[in-house]
């Protein structure tokens, strides 16, 4: 600090016109440096994000199938999608999944976050509840596929032991999507709870003191203090999980493969099948564009929600 001040003082006395020139020179050199620093990342961005995005949009207007050159066919893919029953079904089952997954997960994670905030500061507890999130989707899916196996899985064996009818968790078309939703609740519960817990930690401690002085019970504290102050964080978490669970793929791919019948053919899995099982890259790209539009709409909704809740917090 002192050195800088000294320098400025001397230079101002000796050569009054030099400093601005020097400053400009430095800014120019920083632009040059910035370009050099950004070269590798920019290559990655242009080649593997920007260009594929443009190409994907273009492909959605073609009949490209990986084997022969593509022809431009205008909106034909989109028109075909609008009357594609498999697409509409995939949208329906994806929505079912999102509602079950996000609904249960958010409620349970909120409960768990409050439990942690009120009853423990243990890092070990945090580490343990986060563990499932660090395990690959594929592994989690296979472990639950085994736990839920109709013939030998521990859950059905236990049901059988207590004289309850066995359940085809992955094999029954009315149950399969619910099972997949719960498997992913298990994987994401701790992670979501930690995000909410971070939000809870940001709530000023003295409001709890005040609540205690007023003699408020646990439920009352939750309803009147914790929940209103947490709402902005909750809105954020909700949107992140909705956008994430819309893209469900791995669990379906290694367990049901879209079945039984069409019960678990979620949108992302349908895109994959069109592209890589039927080589309909054009059609699949159009489906991906539609998925992106849906997700962008959700993100916009997020902005509105967050803004509405900021004022809520300030009050």
């Amino acid at each position: 600090m002192t050195i800088t001040a000294d320098r400025e003082a001397t230079s101002q006395e000796d050569v009054p016109r030099k400093p601005p020139a020097k400053k400009k020179a430095r800014r120019d050199s920083q632009l040059k440096a910035a370009i050099l620093f950004l070269i590798p990342a920019s290559i990655g961005f242009v080649v593997f994000f920007a260009w594929p995005a443009i190409r994907g949009l273009y492909l959605s207007f073609t009949d490209y199938n990986l084997l022969r050159p593509s022809t431009f066919i205008g909106f034909d893919n989109y028109v075909a999608i609008s009357t594609d029953p498999v697409f509409w079904n995939s949208l329906k089952v994806t929505l079912e999944y999102v509602v079950m997954n996000v609904g249960v997960q958010t409620a349970a994670a909120l409960g768990l976050a409050v439990l942690m905030q009120r009853f423990t500061r243990s890092m070990v507890v945090r580490g343990v509840i986060m563990l499932p999130y660090l395990i690959a989707n594929v592994i989690v899916a296979l472990v639950w596929f085994w736990l839920c196996d109709y013939n030998l899985g521990i859950i059905n064996a236990a049901l059988d032991f207590f004289g309850i009818d066995k359940v085809g968790f992955f094999g029954n078309e009315n149950v399969a999507m619910g099972t997949i939703a719960m498997v992913n609740v298990w994987r994401h519960l701790g992670y979501t709870a930690l995000l909410l817990f971070a939000g809870l930690q940001a709530i000023p401690k003295d409001v709890y003191e005040a609540a205690e002085v007023d003699g408020a019970g646990e439920w009352r504290v939750f309803r009147s203090v914790t929940l209103p102050l947490l709402r902005p964080v909750l809105a954020f978490v909700l949107v992140v999980t909705v956008v994430g669970s819309f893209q469900i793929f791995d669990t379906i791919a290694v367990t049901t493969g879209g079945g039984p019948v069409d019960a678990t053919r979620a949108i992302n899995y349908y895109i994959y099948q069109r592209a890589f099982e039927r080589l309909d890259f054009g059609y699949a790209s159009a489906l991906a564009v539609i998925l992106m539009i849906i997700l962008a709409a959700i993100a916009l909704l997020q902005n509105k929600l967050l803004r509405a809740n900021e004022s809520d917090l300030e009050r």
Partner: protein
């Protein structure tokens, strides 16, 4: 010294715990609250335990005792056969399929791919984050926001054209093909590091400029060492993410020399006979794929948990 510091820290934590009004005081509430936490922890750990229990069971003997809480007829057989160490006869005797499967090779492939991605991505992303956080140039924030838009694009949208690109480059069935799209940067990595670089005291950097250091030198000798804990945290997070990734490596890496663990697991499952699946072998494969993550969690648990709490909600 450390013991004293540890004790002091513990005492301080104890004191702050008693002062913390957000912790419940009532004994009844404490009892039920902790009971609920114990139940959650049991539900969290049971499937993981079951993976261990099954991986050390004899697949043939397991059919008779599905409810046994301990490994049935404890054996290293399943691990041996998925690592390619058991003969076909040994595998068949314990209820394996006898098909050759080599998770040791997939493990090496996974380590190679994830290390390649992580090292390059974190290096290049930290350089970019430096340009976005600590250099002054026109249009900086605009360029940064363009980079951030990529965060919004769903993976499957860029995955299709990227597959065509990697195929055209002749890189299908290679580790490089798996790594290429994420080796240069991800918007998340740049965003994550930029947050920390913004917090670096600029007067240190200005002093170095006056001393005649060039930007590369400042980056290498000042910024990187200062942000080293965050850079390591990011590297761990990204390593885990690519370790767990499935769809992209499944599409690009189908050969024995490029198959990653998750892909090998998926194929193992799909090839398993419908009538009497090799559950023990499948869980042994899952265990092999999961153990490196457990080790990372044991060593870096605090960093990993902390990163979610500091960067998740902003």
């Amino acid at each position: 010294m450390t013991i004293i510091a540890f004790k002091a820290g513990r005492a301080a934590r104890q004191a702050s715990r008693e002062d913390d009004p957000s912790l419940a005081k009532s004994k009844v509430a404490k009892f039920f609250g902790r009971l609920a936490l114990v139940i959650v922890i049991l539900i969290t750990l049971f499937p993981i335990y079951w993976m261990f229990r099954t991986a050390f069971s004899n697949n043939r003997a397991m059919f008779a005792e599905p409810l046994s809480l301990l490994p049935v007829d404890f054996t290293w057989g399943p691990l041996k056969r998925v690592l390619g160490l058991a003969t076909t006869e040994e595998a068949l005797a314990e209820g394996g399929s006898g098909a050759s499967i080599n998770f040791a090779q997939y493990m090496l492939n996974s380590i190679a791919a994830c290390t390649l991605i992580t090292v390059f991505q974190v290096t290049f992303s930290s350089m970019a984050a430096y340009a976005f956080a600590l250099l002054n140039w026109k249009g900086r924030d605009k360029v940064f926001s363009i980079f951030l838009i990529a965060l919004m694009v769903p993976g499957i949208f860029t995955l299709l054209p990227n597959f065509i690109l990697v195929k055209d480059l002749g890189l299908l069935n290679s580790i490089l093909g798996i790594a290429l799209p994420t080796m240069f940067m991800t918007p998340f990595a740049i965003f994550f590091l930029r947050q920390f670089f913004l917090g670096i005291n600029r007067s240190i950097i200005e002093a170095a400029v006056i001393d005649g250091a060039n930007q590369w030198r400042i980056f290498r000798t000042i910024v990187v060492p200062l942000a080293w804990p965050q850079i390591i945290t990011l590297a761990i997070l990204q390593f885990i993410q690519y370790w767990n990734d499935y769809l992209w490596p499944f599409l690009v890496g189908q050969s024995e020399q490029s198959k990653l663990l998750t892909v090998g697991l998926g194929i193992f499952k799909s090839q398993t006979p419908q009538g009497n699946p090799d559950w023990a072998g499948l869980m042994a494969g899952a265990l092999i794929a999961a153990v490196p993550i457990f080790i990372l969690m044991l060593v870096f648990g605090r960093k990993i948990v902390g990163s979610i709490q500091s960067s998740g909600v902003k």
